[in-house]
Symmetry: C2
Subunit: 198 residues, 2 copies
DNA sequence: CTCCTTCTATGGCGATCACCATAGTATGTC
DNA sequence: GACATACTATGGTGATCGCCATAGAAGGAG
């Protein structure tokens, strides 16, 4: 029983895009279906639990791709915390520029509308953050950070990246990411006792 | 021609509260008026430009109080960047706990729904961030930071605080703020060339 | 008293919301 | 041919959205 159309996948992709730009509540099903070209008639065939299910699948997709990006950068900068942070900032900034500063982070957008979400969806968002943070923490540990410090640095970095995205959207400029990278280069990501590059 | 009731002020306060918890689009006028006890009939008398105007006044209120908080902390920790950062983290974390992790940042919530906002409102949000950042940057400068580094550190800190709020809401825990304070204490907020406390 | 301002009550505008019931088409397998 | 699965079209549900027109109550100023 193979799929015959890609209407389902297109709906998920459109939902991810629009949720990132406008937020969850502000994005109507009508708009999602119109943008994706998916037919209206089959929506509840593909997503019996409605908008909630659509959001769940959208965030699964988003989290997976985000973690893949982080893992790639981690592999590219093994043992080097400074380059790791720098490259994350660069990548995030490049994404923002590529979307003309329209895209926010899906996890963040959903997190800021918590009362509109059910428990299942909330849990997925929370786990998305936890998993991302753990990838970063693990990288820091392979750089010689003590476990506690690796966790703290990872949590702080993930938080900073989220906030930077918000501000970059407003300013329509990647300057915040550059500031973040600069500060991290000088002090933040340096392993204990070892001076930074500057 | 003095005001006779406080219905207007109560509506603004309720709007600020609900926008922080639920976001802009997810909060209806009906809910705002119900919660504030303000009568429905007089809404467009007090706010002729409707929901937009209400949001503008709410954010003015929010930004003013936020800047007051930052200025107070700055005055309490003159010349001491480490204690400044630490106290900001403490204060923000305490706010979160006090609201049982329900309140987000109004500026951030609005920034994540940009397409729903008109230009005027967007501009106010952007200025709120810019002004907050400048207060932080000025404090860092009085701590002996070079101007460029003070600006970078301020931008990074403001971004990190925003992200921390989002994550703290999800985790229902102030742990992120503690991580942020810890990392800053060790490396971040230290003036050039001077080692951190730890 | 009249007049004006400040504020509120009521009711409804058109539009959109998420959701769903019903029916029908297309493409398989047997 | 029969039959099932995969998918879509249509149309409408009740509820809620922001907004507004009309009317009137309350109170001070002249």
């Amino acid at each position: 029983m193979p799929r015959k159309t890609d209407a389902r996948a297109r709906a998920i992709a459109a939902a991810e895009r629009l949720f990132r730009i406008q937020g969850y509540t502000a994005t109507g099903l009508t708009q999602i279906l119109a943008e994706s070209g998916a037919p209206k008639g089959s929506f509840y065939f593909h997503f019996p639990r409605g908008k909630t299910q659509l959001a769940e699948e959208a965030i699964d997709r988003y989290v997976a791709s985000r973690m893949a990006v982080l893992r790639n950068i981690s592999a590219d900068t093994t043992g080097d915390a400074l380059r790791f942070v720098q490259q994350i900032c660069d990548t995030f900034a490049a994404e923002m520029i590529a979307s003309d500063f329209q895209y926010g982070c899906l996890m963040q957008n959903l997190a800021n509308e918590l009362p509109a979400l059910d428990a299942e969806l909330t849990e997925r968002v929370a786990r998305g953050f936890a998993d991302s943070t753990e990838i970063v923490a693990e990288h820091f540990m392979t750089c010689g950070f003590a476990p506690a410090r690796a966790s703290s640095a990872a949590a702080a970095l993930v938080a900073a990246l989220e906030g930077a995205r918000t501000i970059a959207r407003l300013e329509r400029s990647p300057a915040v990411f550059e500031a973040l990278a600069e500060i991290s280069l000088q002090r933040w990501a340096a392993p204990e006792g070892r001076p930074g590059l500057v």
